[in-house]
């Protein structure tokens, strides 16, 4: 009991209760099977994306006209495509674009959204009103439609999709952080450090931001899931990275042309999107349950 009290005292004194609690809880995460399974799935996908050449059995662009549209076999577990290329190999290489684009987009959104939320929550006033109206406007576009608009303007390329995903998620991170700032602004530990003469920057970075750590981590994983769906959707529509570079989306677009000759063609690329998004969602839900018990069951 006495230990618990002194522990509590130490936490409030350090001014980083959110951060400490979060770190303690990360140790518990391994006990949650949901988190363990989804971390393994994400790990496998990461390995595929980082070193596809080591994992994949063939060359993704090696054309083999004799073996066009082969059914799954021991040589080609997911069959071959319309150029005789191994579908398993192309799916493994496809993870690269998929993950690179979604991660880069979410990182961009984080890097802009978090400071924006901090400033607009802390300063309030005109800065806050302007950013909030901008965010309302951005939230009024269905994300895929906004993405189409950006691609129409800037052309179908990796960088325009990263930009799109970034812009789509800026409001979500900004709102989350702004909410935390508004909630904590009047708290005693913030007021106390203001009274001690700490400057805005120090208060925001040391005292307020760590409290947003847990919900931000949850938001990052959930945002990644949506980002993957957006990227895959765009490349399915032909607005993403163009063939012959394989992406799960453009493979599905090509597979759609052979429903009778090669029905198995659509299975592997779609299943990859499904499994990785499912894992990201599970990871997000699991993190939410473990890091922030107040949000449990929502």
């Amino acid at each position: 009991m006495a230990q618990a009290v002194s522990e509590h005292h130490k936490l409030t004194e350090s001014g980083l209760p959110g951060m400490r609690l979060a770190i303690n809880r990360i140790r518990d995460l391994g006990r949650n099977p949901q988190i363990t399974i989804s971390t393994i799935v994400v790990g496998v996908a990461l390995i595929c994306a980082l070193v596809p050449g080591w994992v994949a059995p063939y060359d993704p662009n090696k054309i083999d006209p004799i073996n066009m549209l082969q059914a799954p076999s021991w040589q080609h577990p997911f069959g071959t495509d319309e150029y005789g290329r191994d579908i398993l190999t192309r799916v493994i290489h496809g993870s690269r674009v998929e993950l690179a684009v979604s991660v880069a987009g979410v990182v961009l959104a984080f890097a802009i959204g978090v400071p924006l939320g901090l400033i607009s929550g802390w300063r309030g006033g005109l800065v806050d009103s302007i950013t909030m109206r901008f965010q309302d406007a951005l939230l009024a576009f269905p994300s895929i439609l906004f993405a189409i608009l950006v691609v129409a303007a800037l052309g179908a390329s990796q960088s325009s999709i990263i930009l799109t995903i970034g812009v789509i998620f800026i409001p979500r991170f900004a709102r989350l952080v702004r909410g935390t700032v508004l909630f904590l602004k009047e708290e005693e530990f913030v007021q106390a450090s203001l009274a001690c003469g700490a400057d805005d920057r120090r208060i925001l970075m040391r005292h307020i931001l760590p409290n947003a750590f847990a919900p931000l981590m949850v938001q990052v994983t959930l945002a990644l899931a949506v980002a993957i769906l957006i990227e895959a959707g765009l490349s399915y529509l032909g607005l993403g990275v163009q063939p012959p570079t394989p992406t799960w989306g453009n493979m599905l677009q090509q597979a759609q042309a052979y429903p009778v000759q090669a029905p198995w063609y659509v299975l592997a690329p779609g299943a990859c999107i499904f499994v990785i998004v499912l894992a990201m969602n599970m990871l997000g839900d699991g993190l939410r349950d473990s890091l922030d018990p107040r949000m449990r069951g929502l």
């Binding site: 406007a137 269905p142 439609l145 608009l149 303007a153 769906l229 429903p259 779609g270 998004v277």
Partner: protein, 321 residues
């Protein structure tokens, strides 16, 4: 209530202005001279250069971008969305001719989602923790993660290619051939509805669990009312309010989803029109359809807000809360 509605409408004005500025500005970043695109191939001919220059002046392209935006906004507000660069048809005509197909698809998807989520959500809440509950929650997780274009392709493979029950793609106008229209609607509407069904089931279940634990439900049970009556009459009424809000909020995802689903099933609605216009670089059409969809979304959200204020007086300002 009147002031609440009025305030919400006034709040929309800056949002709408920013939306229109984003749509206008982004497509101005697109490469190419709008006047040359409007003229088409003839713009490259030397003898047409004078006419091209005149067209540029006529379209106000020599003015600063802000002035161009104000002109464009003036046209849009008076209902003039210009003509398609490809067909020369009025953009408004093109859009309204495609709108019924999209509205039908969205309504069909919402209908299917409600049909599935209401019973599943209620049963899961009542039998919380049971096998049925765990199964339906797994299906919900799957429904939230499955990409609609993949689901659509698989449904086509099963129901059109393998079983031959339903046509794989294409649209038939409702008024000309209602039976064919409904047959063709089934797969795309189901594909589009899965995400909404999963979201609704999740929220309805969570809400019903909360409501079923309240005092007034205990009172109703204590009065000796039959369980069926307690759930359907007393609990469901409060459980349904979030369903309304979520349906409104998810309409954006649904409208965005139509773009993909219409492409999978060759359903010639607004989403398909927009995609085609992007491929053709027919910017007036892209501009108008994106603007219309964003506008529609903002208006539906306004409607949901007002309806919510009507159903739940506590959120209205000046109502003590």
């Amino acid at each position: 209530m009147g002031t609440f509605v009025l305030r919400r409408i006034l709040e929309l004005i800056p949002t709408l202005l920013i939306i229109s500025a984003i749509v206008f500005g982004l497509l101005r970043l697109a490469p190419g001279d709008p006047a040359a695109m409007k003229m088409g191939r003839e713009a490259a001919l030397p003898e047409n250069q004078i006419r091209l220059e005149e067209l540029r002046l006529e379209m106000g392209l020599d003015k600063p971008i802000v002035v161009q935006y104000v002109y464009w906004l003036g046209d849009v507000v008076t209902g003039d969305f210009g003509e398609s660069n490809r067909s020369g048809r009025s953009v408004l005509d093109l859009f309204t001719s495609r709108l019924p197909a999209t509205i039908q698809l969205v309504l069909g998807a919402t209908g299917i989602a409600l049909l599935v989520s209401l019973p599943v959500g209620i049963v899961s809440a009542i039998h919380r923790g049971s096998k049925i509950d765990r199964l339906s929650m797994s299906l919900v997780s799957a429904g939230l993660a499955i990409p609609s274009f993949w689901l659509g392709l698989i449904l086509i493979l099963i129901f059109s290619v393998r079983l031959g029950w339903l046509p794989p793609s294409g649209y038939a106008p409702l008024l000309e051939d209602p039976a064919e229209n409904l047959r063709r609607l089934l797969l795309p509407a189901a594909t589009l509805g899965v995400y909404l069904a999963a979201t609704l089931t999740r929220f309805l279940r969570a809400d019903m669990i909360e409501v079923l634990a309240t005092d007034y439900i205990r009172t109703a049970r204590a009065k000796g009312l039959r369980e069926r009556h307690v759930v359907m009459k007393h609990a469901l009424k409060n459980g349904l309010i979030p369903v309304l809000t979520i349906t409104g909020l998810e309409l954006g995802a649904l409208l965005g989803g139509t773009v993909i689903v219409e492409q999978v099933f060759g359903w010639s609605g607004v989403g398909w029109l927009t995609l085609q216009a992007v491929a053709d670089r027919d910017y007036p059409v892209v501009q108008a359809s994106v603007l219309f969809i964003a506008l529609g979304l903002v208006l539906v959200n306004l409607l949901v807000d007002i309806l919510y204020g009507y159903l739940n007086p506590r959120v209205r300002p000046g109502f003590g809360g």
